[in-house]
Amino acid sequence: MAAADSPSAALRRRDLCSRGIRLAGKMRSDVVDLLDTYVERQGLDASASVAAVEGVPAAAVERWDEQTGTQRLLENLAAYRAFRVLLSQMLEEHREQLGEADAALGRAMASVLLQVSAFAYHLEELLRLESRGPPSEEGAPPPPAPHLGLFERKLRGLGVLRELAQWAVRSARDLRQLTKPSPGSSSVPSRAESP
């Protein structure tokens, strides 16, 4: 907290939040574009219903406004770490499937993956400013890639991108919430402490 109290830390936090918000916004924009491309290239129906992706925390949450800042950061970090793993798996599967045939889709997925990584970095930096430090990724091992069929993998990828888009919206709101003065934010116990 001492670091958070210093003017430079506050500026750093404000900067991280600000850019995190814009990154989330761009990530959402790009994911939405990627979703359209993905549906088109994978031959899927945009209105297809997809089950919740395993290993990804749901963006929707009850009593969202009652969450503390750290709690928000930890939930976001967990989600984006999961997305990073999932998107990496999708990118690998895409390369295996199409090679360099659909490079544009692969570049778009790689770009989103980078943004997810960047956003996770933002979250980790914010958590450091909160004097909490980011939780170790080892505490949240990536879910093993299920052995799915090709179509199922496509649907799963569609589910991942949809959930990512929703998380991008939620993350922007979370960070905006963090920029507001919230005296009780640090009193909320962090989920990161309990693996």
């Binding site: 850019r19 995190g20 814009r22 990154l23 916004g25 761009k26 959402r28 924009s29 790009d30 574009d33 570049r107 778009a108 770009s111 980078l114 943004q115 990584s117 960047a118 970095y121 933002h122 980790e124 930096e125």
Partner: protein, 919 residues
Amino acid sequence: MFSGWNWVAHGLYLLLNFCSLEVSGGLVQSCGHIIPESPVLALGSNFTALCILNESCLDFGNIYANQIIWKIKNRVVPKEQYREINRTVSSVTFNDTSSLATPLTCNILADGQIEQNIYGIAVTIGLPPEKPKNLSCIVHQVLKLTYPMTCTWNPGRHTFLDTHFRLKYRWPQENFPDCIPKDVNNSCTIPDVQFFVNLEVWVEAANALGKAESDPLVLDPIEIVKPLPPHNLSVNSGILPTVLKLAWENRISGALMKLKFNIRYRTIGDTNWMQVPPEDTASPRTSFSVQGLRPYTEYVFSIRCMKEDGVGYWSDWSEEKTGVTTEDKPSKGPPIWRIIDASRSPAFWTVHLMWKALEPFEANGIILQYEVTVRAKSSPSSPPEKYDVNTTNLTLKLPNGTYEVTLIARNRVGASPPSVLLIPATNSKAPVKNVRTLPKDGKLWVGWTAPNSYVLKYVIEWCLVSNSSDCIIEWQNEPGNVQGTYLKGDIKPFKCYLITVYSLYADGQGSGQSVKAYLQQDRPSKGPTVQTKKVGKAEAVLTWNHLTVDEQNGFIRSYTIFYKTVDGNETAVTVDPSKTEYTLSSLTSDTLYTVRMMAYTDEGGRSGPDFTFTTQKFGKGEIEAIVVPVCLAFLLIVLLGVLFCFNKRDLIKKHIWPIVPDPSKSNIAQWSPQVPAKHNFSSKDQMYPEGSFTDVSVVEIEADDKKSFSEQDLKPFDLLKKEKSTSEGHSSGIGGSSCMSSPRQSVSDSDEGETAQNTSSTVQYSTVVLNGYRDQTPVQVFSRSESTQPLLDSEERSEDHSGGADSTSQRQQYFKQNGGQDETNTDRPCFERTKQITPTNEGDLVGFAQLQISGQSSQLLGLGLQKNTQEAALPDVLQTSIEGQTVRPETVEGNPPSVDEMPKSYLPQTVRQGGYMPQ
């Protein structure tokens, strides 16, 4: 033994050669090698190389390290740089690698004579890379979702080595693959970057001599974005005639970047852009309404964008789009002016109304027509006359009076405010003063001093003054609060403009004040043609014509007259430009002068053609002063001569035309006994009355020694002849003898010249022509006698006696004038005159014979007889002449004897010794 060693040495040589082949071909082991192998050295550093000989080679030929020679290319390295480390190793050291070159070879002297290469290395010299500087990056948006980042840097000095640059970047938690430049060493482009995360960027340069890294650049790529400009720009006119609405599309996501904009616009044909205030477009948007535009005007718009907070780069300007505002009613009335022509009729004016079309920004649309209203101020009750005109002028014929002309321009939206002009202008109002001009920036500025009273507006009239065209008036209006303006029109340089400024008031007008001006002056296009009007002895009046206004090209400031003689210096005289005549003075008389003339403007002068003239030799009146007196003197002399001649006319007459005696009156004519009946003296006397003869006979006598006897000397003979002519009793014997031979001839020979006939038969008489004188019919013509027959025997004797031989050498001519005796002496006795003969008494000459006689002899001659004395007779003659002064001849005038009684000697003379004795 010796041959055996020799054989060994030869074998060693072959071995060394073989070893060399191994070095070059790598087939066999070398006898040594150099350490280090192919080094890369920093320029300017020191370097040491070792040449290590193989032990195997030592055994063959006693080769040791002290025999090693180092070479750079073919140049031997000085031995001071060698160092024998041991028997197989030699080193060479270079303090500065700049002296190195490739190859560096290790050589050995075999047998102390033969140099053989052992090994060689290639040396590479260069520099380590410098730290790259000035690293900067920019993210260009090339597509909606593609943001490559290009970084540039300064690679530093040339290293002479293969140096690799790498652009490295990373996130704090993630590294990215390096960006390796292609074909360049100072920039690299990362294909896609992610925003909102700080990116650390740096450049690494590396070559064989080292590695260097630039300072890292930490940035969020979103801060260095140069976005694509907005596209699909559209311009739409709004309801208001001064507003256009712009709309566009942004090509960068609002989630990524919030934008601000710049909007610029200009009218068609204008090159200068105007810009919407940036604060009005500092927020994200996709449309904007531009206000404050001119109605019915076509505008060009363009837009650009950048990150809202100003961090980053402006995009390029978008494509240009045009839009036209809607029409509005004209904002002002057209400027109007008039030309009043009162010359055609005293009661009516021809008024040329003219106005200027409104500028587009004033017309605010298409002017459909003009409405002109003319209202007579003198009769307000009369209705105004209205004219609808489509052109910009109107000619009216109005009775003399005061009128108010109102002009309105009308377009589709409405009418302009009226323009009012009073006709005629009563020039009683205060005019402007001090009208002046000034060329400025290629235009002609006109300034004036405003009157004290309030001026509604000014009208500036101008026209080009030219000989070849009329003065076509152009004009312009200026508001009343200005005191100068530029002429709006095509003002040409080198042309003269007449500019007039009028001050217009609400109720009248001031008189126009004019000035002439040039936008730009030049030298005159030609010089004045000078010629002389009058040339004198020392002065010449030159005259010339002014240059025409088209030739002047500027204000003629002065004339300069240059004149010179053929070999003299040129003299210049400056003349006032208003003059057309000048008098050159102090010229040299009778000299050829060349004169030319230059006209000067402010920009220089030009000379006219040369003109030559010659000054006169005499001044005015000099010739008259000489000629007139000369003429007068001549006339006076002539007059005096005439008067003298007139006064002495008789003397001259007698002198020039001596009296030739009329032979018909001679006594011998009457005396001839053979034809007495025929001799009709009376009839002859009637025919030739005495004194009526004026015919002149000239007797010339040529003699060796000429001497004219004075008339005094001849007077006695005249008297004698007269007496003989008038008295028949005095007949000459000679005449008688003459008549005896031939009456007619006797007439001729009976003259006093019969003495000549007596002299010799060869005497030739001159032709005596008796022309009619004073309307008298000539009686006879006497031709030269060709007769050689003596007239008389006595005469022949006489001639013989008197020495008539002289007639062969002399020729005598006689001129006779009958009746020419001096009247004053007619009464005088002949003898008395004879006494008075003196050679000097010429003034008393009354004789009619002119006598020339040779010698100094003076001889008494009777009846005009001229006798040429011969040499033999000369003493007698001299004696006679000496004594002749006192000779008093005996006269016979007392009683003239009859013919029969006439003695042969008709002239009694007192003869002394040797004297002439007439028979």
